[in-house]
Subunit: 286 residues, 2 copies
């Protein structure tokens, strides 16, 4: 079992990971590739004290190298769910299940809170993970709403088992979809339910009746990742120790709110790490 699982991959996640390692804890960073960080595209960063006049890519590479040098491990994947399993947590990383004593959420700026009804019908027809839940929709009608190309593979997989697959791309230029996947160019508006189950997806153009809706997102809304996590709008609520309302779950960086700045993220990552380390050390039977 890991001591600390860190969800993210930007400055907050790397700082948290580095500081867990400095305190001799096992740690793994679960996230997307470095170049998916908003920082990667920054032309010039000049307000991270001690490192003047660098660009985002250089800075991220420095950060990554520092973390690797200190023994931080990485797993490039999308985490779709984190479950509280008694005294620890279980992370679903594309259907690899990893246990950890503590979680640090450093998921970056969440672009959306999800559409109306999305969180309400989570587990009742709404899913973020085709690999986990796809088989539940054998011979049924599903919609895949995707912010990125990776959704295409998921739709293609569903096309083999479902009666009908609609695909709503929220990005440009589809790469490859099977012939029996129906593309709908529309903006999703709301999840419509009937008898406590998903019945349709309402869009700005048409209402698509379906049994299940899969959302493939670049960033998961944090409260759909971890049940019961307290948020304030799109920000995760934290105290000065960067602790959330859930035991041994911390948050750091842009996901806790403005200012969306590297130094804040790095500082919060450190604080979250030290709080996690201290709280793990207080657990019984570790």
């Amino acid at each position: 079992m890991l001591d600390v699982a860190i969800i993210g991959g930007g400055p907050a996640a790397l700082s948290a990971a580095l500081n867990c390692r400095q305190r001799n804890k096992t740690v793994c960073v679960f996230g997307r590739s470095l170049d998916s960080s908003l920082l990667f595209t920054a032309e010039k960063v000049d307000n991270y004290l001690g490192m003047p006049d660098v660009n985002g890519e250089e800075l991220l590479n420095h950060f990554y190298a520092h973390a690797v040098k200190k023994g931080v491990e990485f797993q490039e994947c999308r985490v779709t769910q984190i479950l509280n399993v008694g005294e620890h947590y279980m992370i679903n990383a594309e259907n690899n299940f990893i246990e950890a004593k503590a979680i640090i959420l450093a998921t970056g700026l969440s672009k959306s809170k999800g559409i109306a009804g999305e969180i309400d019908y989570l587990g009742k027809g709404v899913s973020y993970c085709v690999t986990c839940d796809g088989m539940l929709y054998r011979n049924k009608k599903v919609v895949v709403v995707s912010e990125n190309e990776e959704g295409e593979a998921e739709a293609n997989f569903l096309a083999d088992i479902c009666k009908e697959v609609s695909y709503i791309p929220l990005y440009k230029n589809i790469t490859f979809l099977k012939d029996n996947v129906k593309v709908i160019n529309a903006a999703p508006k709301a999840v419509v339910g009937a008898e406590d189950k998903v019945a349709a997806l309402e869009t700005d153009k048409e209402t698509v009746s379906c049994d299940g809706i899969f959302f493939a997102k670049n960033t998961m809304p944090p409260d759909s990742l971890l049940f019961g996590l307290k948020t304030d709008g799109k920000n995760i609520e934290v105290d000065r120790r960067m602790a959330t309302n859930l035991p041994r779950v911390y948050a750091a960086g842009d996901c806790t709110g403005a200012p969306y700045q590297i130094a804040k993220a790095v500082g919060e990552g450190l604080v979250a790490a030290l709080s996690a380390v201290s709280d793990i050390d207080k657990m019984k039977n570790v």
Copy 2:
């Protein structure tokens, strides 16, 4: 008038100053020399993300160079008092008075809350500034309690105007004191008052009757620096914006509490700076 005055000189102060400059605000850092920072003596620092394996002195020099490059100004001095003067603040820096619209306190780890009665009798016989208040004690009896050599010059100045000067050094090896300064090697315990004025200094050995007590400290307890500042024990109370209970007064770094770490200080300095900038911009007639 300065936009932002920063009290300190460590990583939090430098990060705050850098970020005020990045937002085109005028800023000056009032503090002691770099080598007075606790960080200066650190043999190895390895958890400030992006800059592995440096020592404290190197890191501080990088930080300082970055701030200077971006136009941060410095004034090496001891700030003994900050007064709220209507819409702005007045800083007493060894009897130079500087006005600023906002204050960022980055005074580091306060080693003491002061002795019993010290804050109660501030302005009623207790002072932190010989240059400011020395003349009030002409022909009277005073005690100087000093954490550093600088107190000797203050005692020597007082020896010319006061009836009796006692000197309690809280450090080793006195450099030079005039003959009429009486050295007492004892640990101060309490300020004793009578009729709302200082009457004596109680120590672990003797009680020294006096009219005034001057404390020369390496770090001022923050609530003696700025009247009405809310503290929690020895930490300045701040919210997530690093705002204190006083308008346009912020705090960052070790003075806000543990963990006493560079990344936390740098992050908080940034947040304090951006909050100050935003609040100044909202002021009328600026």
